[in-house]
């Protein structure tokens, strides 16, 4: 709670993470799937005597190297910056708990990047067998980066009872493997692997769609069809893996999803259900579009079609990531730390001793509005903004200080059947701190005095 607070007006810090993460996922998953795609494609061309296609594959491997090695690496660091600023407490927990996990991840990263560069620069310079071996080394190391990062990412949703039993005692690292192979580890790994394979096929379609040399038309048809088939495992297995994943998801997250499903008919369903619905619809659309554009009529595939497929993949990926993030609510680390960085174990302490008492950000004066502002920055701003995304001005519109205070009391001690308990952390703090927060929030809902220009305009209208 004593880390600096990052104020991102408009979109909020959560969306900064979201935008970078979606971009990164699209590239990182391509790095994993494409790592396997390249040597398999190369082997296929040798086996079937289609070596005229090798220059196209070399172009694809250059595109691959630049995209994953440059943009992938940059966006990966970008995520670290963003999560470190928006969720410093949670990032600190991840670093301390998975020190050796990160070390292993970095070893695989180094091997992966080196192998990718060697693979591209050694085309036609080393024996084919050796070149293929480099390709498969790349495929293995990039898959292992996924194997490691998946343990850390899925830990944030379901840390598992073994780790939770020692959480906060300083012994967390002793349960490294239990935390790593947590309940959603395996379904997440399978789901991400399927997505990686699909993206490998989609990116290959982009490269191949740009080939318009009539002499290569027959091989192009074969390779476009072959690349389209990389999406088949996803379409066949995704429903089952999704069900497996949901079965392992904590019941708090599932209850939001279930509420949404049961009320879907009346339209009063929750956002996570709508987003999940979008994922399913878009996945079906991708399957249809790939079938029509690439598999059924491979000769007609144009760059526009290939980019349309990638665009749909962006929608599917974004909505899946958004749904996963929402299911994790109200926690940032399931069952341990709420999305505003307050640990579950600290709630009672903050309620009795005060949230701002031990905070470096406690205002020097006794001004209640300033204290309320500090409460807002500490407990609300990781998800809400003043007037942009999840705007407090909009959400509290029409409420005076008394109404806001009564709502805050509901958030402070939510009843078990309250909707808010499913996705919002409990508001912590003493009565004075909660009242201070209400005072601050009330300043947001009061209409601002008209500006000089507006006053002049109104006077002109009145005069007319």
């Amino acid at each position: 709670m004593n880390y600096p607070v990052w104020d991102v007006p408009g979109i909020g810090g959560a969306w900064v993470i979201g935008i970078i993460a979606i971009l990164h996922v699209l590239i990182a998953w391509f790095a994993v799937g494409g790592g396997l795609y390249l040597p398999l494609a190369e082997q296929k061309l040798y086996r079937e005597g289609r070596e005229e296609w090798l220059p196209v594959l070399i172009t694809h491997s250059r595109f691959f190297l630049i995209l994953t090695g440059v943009f992938g690496a940059l966006s990966g660091v970008g995520i670290w910056f963003a999560i470190g600023l928006v969720h410093p407490e949670a990032t600190s927990t991840l670093i301390h708990n998975f020190v050796f996990g990160w070390a292993i991840e970095w070893v695989f990263f180094v091997v992966e990047l080196a192998a990718a560069a060697v693979y591209y620069y050694s085309w036609n310079r080393i024996p084919r067998d050796l070149h293929l071996k480099v390709g498969y080394l790349y495929a293995l190391s990039s898959f292992l980066t996924l194997v490691i990062i998946n343990g850390i990412l899925s830990f944030m949703l379901t840390p598992g009872s073994a780790w939770l039993a020692v959480a906060g005692t300083g012994q967390e690292a002793s349960r490294f493997w239990q935390a790593f192979f947590n309940p959603t580890y395996w379904p997440s790994l399978v789901m991400r692997t399927l997505a990686c394979l699909s993206l490998a096929g989609i990116y290959a379609l982009i490269t191949y769609s740009r080939v318009d040399d009539e002499a290569l038309a027959r091989t192009r048809t074969v390779m476009v069809r072959w690349s389209a088939q990389w999406l088949v495992p996803m379409f066949l297995l995704m429903p089952f893996v999704l069900l497996w994943f949901l079965a392992m998801t904590p019941k708090e997250g599932m209850s939001v999803l279930e509420l949404g499903i049961t009320t879907i008919g009346s339209g009063a369903f929750t956002q996570v259900t709508r987003i999940a619905m979008l994922t399913i619809i878009t996945t079906v659309t991708i399957s249809g579009v790939v079938y029509f554009f690439a598999y059924r009529f491979p000769r007609d595939l144009s760059p526009g079609h290939a980019f349309a497929i990638l665009g749909l993949a962006v929608v599917a990926t974004s909505s899946t990531e958004y749904a996963r993030e929402t299911i994790r609510k109200p926690y940032v680390i399931g069952g341990y730390m709420y999305s505003n960085g307050v640990r579950r174990s600290e709630v009672e302490k903050f309620n009795t001793q005060g949230y701002l008492t031990a905070s470096l950000w406690k205002p020097a004066t006794d001004d209640a509005v300033a204290s309320g502002h500090a409460m807002f920055r500490g407990q609300c701003m990781s998800c809400h903004t003043v007037s942009g995304y999840r705007s407090m001005k909009r959400l509290l519109q029409g409420r005076d200080e008394k109404a806001i205070a009564s709502m805050l009391e509901m958030l402070h001690r939510p009843t078990p059947d309250s909707m808010y308990v499913k996705y919002m952390p409990p508001l912590v703090g003493t009565r004075e701190e909660r009242e201070a927060l209400a005072k601050f929030l009330a300043t947001l809902t009061r209409p601002a005095p008209p500006s000089l220009a507006q006053q002049e305009k109104r006077q002109q209208v009145m005069a007319r």
């Binding site: 339209g267 987003i275 619809i281």
Partner: protein, 356 residues
Amino acid sequence: MNHISQYVMERLGLEEVLAAARKKTVPVHRHSFWYYWGGISLFCFLIQVVTGILLLVYYRPGPEAYESVRQISYEIHFGWLIRSVHNWTANLFLVAVFVHMFSVYFMKAYRAPREFGWLSGILLLLLGLAFGFSGYLLPMDTLAYFATKVGLEIPNALPVIGPPIANLFRGGLEVGEYTVQRFFALHAVILPLLFLPLLGLHLWLVQKHGNAVPPSEEAKPVDQRRSIPFFPNFLARDLAMWLITLNVIALLAALFPWQLGEPADPLSPAPAGIHPEWYFMSQFQVLKIMGTLFPGVAGEAIGMILFTAGLVLWALVPFYDTREKAARRAKKATYFGILVICILVGTTIWGYLGLE
């Protein structure tokens, strides 16, 4: 299965239809993307028909209009989805029609022998706008009420013929339940009766004359032009585009379900910043500008004369920019198209910026 399909094919004569579809070709060039927009417009219209029929089951025009839309939105299972899809598709339909019209314009696809295709397309756009205007009132919430009230003030301002026309639409001197009845009849009966045969004519003309190619492509020798069969190649692409369109509509309906405001109250003051839908914003802004330049009824009358003159010029372009005339006319027509886009976009943005 083959037996069944052969049985059906023989009896319905579908083989001949398929043979004709296989014979028909669609040009392939770097502007081919614009060919999809007519199909997307048609697909949106089909969605409108299906969702419109579903909404008809529960919608009650007249004094219960608001209550019935409230039930559709919040009580009837999946009513919110049908209504949201209907509203979003209405907007997307007009976007697609505008894109289609301008792509046809800049590809010079209005030239002989496609003049009637161009004219019927413009009439379809006007009917589409009328669909939008008449449908907007039907929920009878505050925004719909005041937007329609303001909208009907425009014909009302015309000298002599204006008030009778406005009264005819309103069903009296004020917007009320009779107006809803009339707009409903217009929206669900009269406009479809006009639209469907015109759409049939438009599609038949497209089939008859085929897809036009832009002048840059026309200049190439015939052996350098590429094309693909309409069936099954282009149709498959069209279907894939329809699937993408459906996905966009699902995305919009799921993430931004269409809201219903407070019930209309004629005695309450108009909400601040009342404005028409985006597709009437340009005209709204031009009327505002004219109202400032020429106060009183004259401003609105001049504004309306300007629209009408602009529309007539737009419709008559095929008779000005013909293949037989000099290239200078073709250039002028292109500049005119750019000017129209600039005016439409500019005044629309201006209109939104001017809202309080």
